[in-house]
């Protein structure tokens, strides 16, 4: 799980063009959305693309994103339980 979280940090920085942010700036349990990283609804859609592109997981309803992308940990947990082996 921790390895996946570390991998996700790099992928998110890359996918969302967070150029001034270092992986260690993103804490595993902090909310991804809200003040911290300044992400918005378009970033949420990009994260949906990221899940499909890197992990083969499709999200049909954008409303589901809210829970899945709450934090790095929730995202990693979702990936591990949904990834096709």
């Amino acid at each position: 799980m921790e390895a996946l979280i570390e991998k996700l940090k790099k992928e998110i920085i890359e996918a969302l063009n967070l150029e001034d942010i270092e992986p260690e700036d993103i804490k595993a349990d902090d909310p991804l959305f809200g003040d911290g990283l300044g992400l918005d609804s378009i970033d949420a859609l990009e994260l949906i693309v990221l899940l499909e592109k890197s992990y083969g997981i499709k999200i049909e309803d954008p409303k589901d994103g809210k829970k899945i992308f709450y934090s790095l940990r929730t995202m990693a947990e979702y990936i591990s339980s949904h990834q096709k082996k």
Partner: protein, 217 residues
């Protein structure tokens, strides 16, 4: 001689060939060989707005955004006017073709088909106007024209007309063009009436003055 009721230019920002000029003075430049994204990032760091959303913007929006940032950071002339009467008039030749191509790349390959929402939202030239509007609270009339070349005659005619309606009392106006490796911009702050706070930089808004500001250095 500028009369009290004429439209005046109270700020100008010219960016081309890896150089930025603010009010006619050199502001920043980097080596000619540096690519546009590198130059843009260096300029962003120099202006230092601390606005990470900048990195998500497409090249066209970056160019327009940073020009507006340069003009309004230390000298927020638009702040002298009500939000609803601050307008934006932009023009260019290629609309959003540059980012259109980037988005197209995400959908053209069946094996690697991941349409990017983050790119798609910038595939309209007026998103650039929108981002500037958000940043500087310019809530008045805003428009983007597509013309083959920078027509100073059209710009002066249109802005005259816009100020005549009295719906707009100040505006950001100019030419912001990006197409692949080529980029070129001249953005201006325009005001009418001149009864507000005086500004050291003040030029009449005429075709001749525009040509002078736009001409290669």
């Amino acid at each position: 001689m500028v009369s009290k009721d004429d439209i005046t230019i109270t700020g100008s920002c010219r960016i081309t060939g890896n150089s930025a000029f603010l009010n006619g003075e050199p502001y920043f430049s980097s080596a000619e060989k540096e690519a546009f994204p590198v130059f843009m990032k260096a300029l962003y760091k120099k202006v230092g707005p601390g606005y990470p959303k900048f990195y998500k913007m497409d090249p066209l929006t970056k160019l327009g955004f940073i020009s507006a940032e340069l003009l309004l950071t230390d000298n927020a002339r638009t702040g002298l006017y009500p939000e609803q009467s601050r307008g934006i008039v932009l023009m260019n030749a290629s609309a959003s073709a540059d980012v259109d191509r980037s988005f197209q790349k995400t959908i053209e390959d069946k094996e690697d088909y991941y349409p990017s929402p983050g790119l798609f939202v910038y595939t309209l030239p007026n998103i650039m106007a929108g981002e500037i509007a958000i940043r500087h609270k310019l809530k008045g009339e805003n428009t983007v024209f597509i013309l083959p070349t920078f027509s100073m005659e059209f710009l002066t005619d249109y802005v005259d007309l816009l100020f005549e309606t009295q719906k707009v009392t100040c505006c950001l106006a100019g030419w912001v063009e990006v197409d692949d490796k080529d980029y070129d911009s001249l953005l201006l702050i325009l005001e009418k009436g001149g009864k507000k706070k005086e500004n050291a930089y003040k030029l009449p808004f005429t075709k001749d003055v525009l040509e002078n500001l736009y001409k290669p250095d």
